[in-house]
C-alpha cells in the first residue's frame, strides 16, 4: 500500500483532488489518513468513530478546496489539508478585457480559459497566454465543466453569447458569476432570464455590473476590478463555509 505522502505526491502531480486529515492533539497526534472527493478513504485515524466524524467534516472542505484546522471534540483537533488543482476562471468573450484579465488571473493563481464562438476574437495570437482557448458556443464549451471552485466572467456584451453562458453558469455550482454591462443592460438581461424561468434568488448570483467599483476606465483597469471581485467572492466563500446540503 502507498504511504499517505505518496498519495499526496501523486495527487499534486496529476491534478486530482485529495485531502489529508491529521490529528493535532492528544495521544493520536500525527495519525493521518487520506480522503478523495467521492468519499473513498485510505488509512484511518486509529479510532473508528473519530475517523467517521473527521471524514464528514473534511469532505465539504475538500470540495471547496479549503485547508484548515478543525476542533472535532473538546479533546481532538484535526488538520484538514486539501490538495486541489488551481481554481479556473472562465472568460466568455475573446475581448480586450479578457486579454488583460487572463494575464492578471494567471499571476494570482487561476487556471485561465477563454471561450468565444467568433473566430476573429478567439485567436491564438491574441490569447497565446491563456491555459485554454476554446472556439465554440459558450453553453457548449461550459457544459459539465463548472464546479464549486469555478468562476465565470461573461464579457461579450452580446446576448447571443452572454445569455447561453449565463444559463449554464446559473445551473452550475460556480462560486462566482459576473456579467459585463451597464446597470440598464444588466436590468434587461435579468428580465430576459427571468422570463425564461430563473428565480430572483438564482439571478442574484450574477454580479452585474461586473467588478469592484474602483473607477476603472481602461480594459486593463476593468480586468483588475473584475479579478478583485472574483478574489473577494472566493475568499468570502472560504470564511463563511461551504455549500451545505439541503
Amino acid at each position: 500500500m502507498s504511504t499517505i505522502y505518496e498519495l499526496v505526491r501523486e495527487a499534486v502531480r496529476s491534478g486530482q483532488p485529495l485531502a489529508t486529515i491529521t490529528v493535532l492533539s492528544g495521544e493520536l497526534i500525527g495519525a493521518k489518513m487520506a480522503l478523495r472527493p467521492d468519499g473513498q478513504t485510505v488509512g484511518d485515524l486509529g479510532d473508528t468513530e473519530l475517523t467517521a466524524q473527521a471524514v464528514q467534516v473534511a469532505l465539504p472542505l475538500l470540495t471547496a478546496g479549503e485547508t484548515q484546522t478543525v476542533s472535532l471534540t473538546p479533546e481532538v483537533t484535526i488538520f484538514v489539508e486539501s490538495f486541489v488543482p488551481p481554481p479556473t476562471l472562465y472568460m466568455v468573450g475573446g475581448v480586450h478585457i479578457s486579454i488583460a484579465l487572463a494575464a492578471l488571473a494567471k499571476i494570482v493563481g487561476f487556471r485561465t480559459v477563454v471561450i468565444d464562438a467568433r473566430d476573429a476574437f478567439a485567436t491564438a495570437e491574441r490569447f497565446a497566454h491563456v491555459d485554454e482557448l476554446i472556439l465554440a458556443w459558450p453553453d457548449e464549451a461550459l457544459a459539465g465543466r463548472l464546479d464549486a471552485r469555478s468562476s465565470v466572467a461573461v464579457l461579450t456584451h452580446d446576448p447571443k453569447l452572454d445569455d447561453p453562458a449565463l444559463r449554464v453558469a446559473l445551473r452550475s455550482p460556480a462560486r462566482y458569476i459576473g456579467a459585463l454591462g451597464s446597470p440598464k443592460t444588466h436590468a434587461r438581461r435579468l428580465e430576459r432570464l427571468a422570463a425564461e424561468g430563473f428565480t430572483p434568488e438564482e439571478l442574484a448570483r450574477i454580479h452585474g455590473p461586473i467588478g469592484l467599483p474602483i473607477g476603472a476606465k481602461t480594459p486593463e483597469e476593468i480586468a483588475l476590478s473584475i479579478l478583485a471581485e472574483v478574489v473577494q467572492i472566493s475568499r468570502r466563500g472560504a470564511s463563511t463555509g461551504v455549500q451545505k446540503g439541503a
Partner: protein, 103 residues
C-alpha cells in the same frame, strides 16, 4: 508544492530521511497562510517556508529532531511565549506548525 515535492524526491533518492513542517493555524497577522510548508532532509537541506523567516531556524531544529525521534509534534509560536521571544515574531501574530517525520 511542486518545488517541495521535487526536492523531497531528490532527497529520498539519495537515501536521506525527511521531515515536513506545515502551518496548521494562524492568529492575527502572519506572512504565510495555513498550509504553507517547509521540508528538511537529514543532511540539513531545506526548502520552502512557514513564515517570513522569523521561525524557520527553530522549525529547522524541530524537523531534525523529528527525523531523529520519529515523533510528530505541534509547535506554537507567538508573542506571548518564551520561544517567540527567543526567535521573535515580528508580525505580532501566532503560528502553529505541525512537524512530521516523513513515513
Amino acid at each position: 508544492m511542486h518545488d517541495i515535492l521535487d526536492a523531497i524526491d531528490r532527497w529520498l533518492a539519495r537515501g536521506e530521511q525527511v521531515a515536513i513542517a506545515t502551518v496548521v493555524r494562524t492568529m492575527g497577522s502572519s506572512p504565510r497562510q495555513v498550509g504553507a510548508k517547509m521540508a528538511v532532509s537529514s543532511s540539513g537541506a531545506m526548502i520552502g517556508s512557514v513564515s517570513g523567516g522569523c521561525i524557520e531556524g527553530a522549525v529547522f531544529e524541530a524537523c531534525q529532531e523529528a527525523i531523529a525521534t520519529g515523533q510528530t509534534r505541534l509547535l506554537h509560536f507567538g508573542v506571548a511565549d518564551e520561544t517567540a521571544w527567543e526567535v521573535g515574531l515580528a508580525c505580532g501574530g501566532t503560528i502553529d506548525v505541525l512537524v512530521e517525520p516523513l513515513r
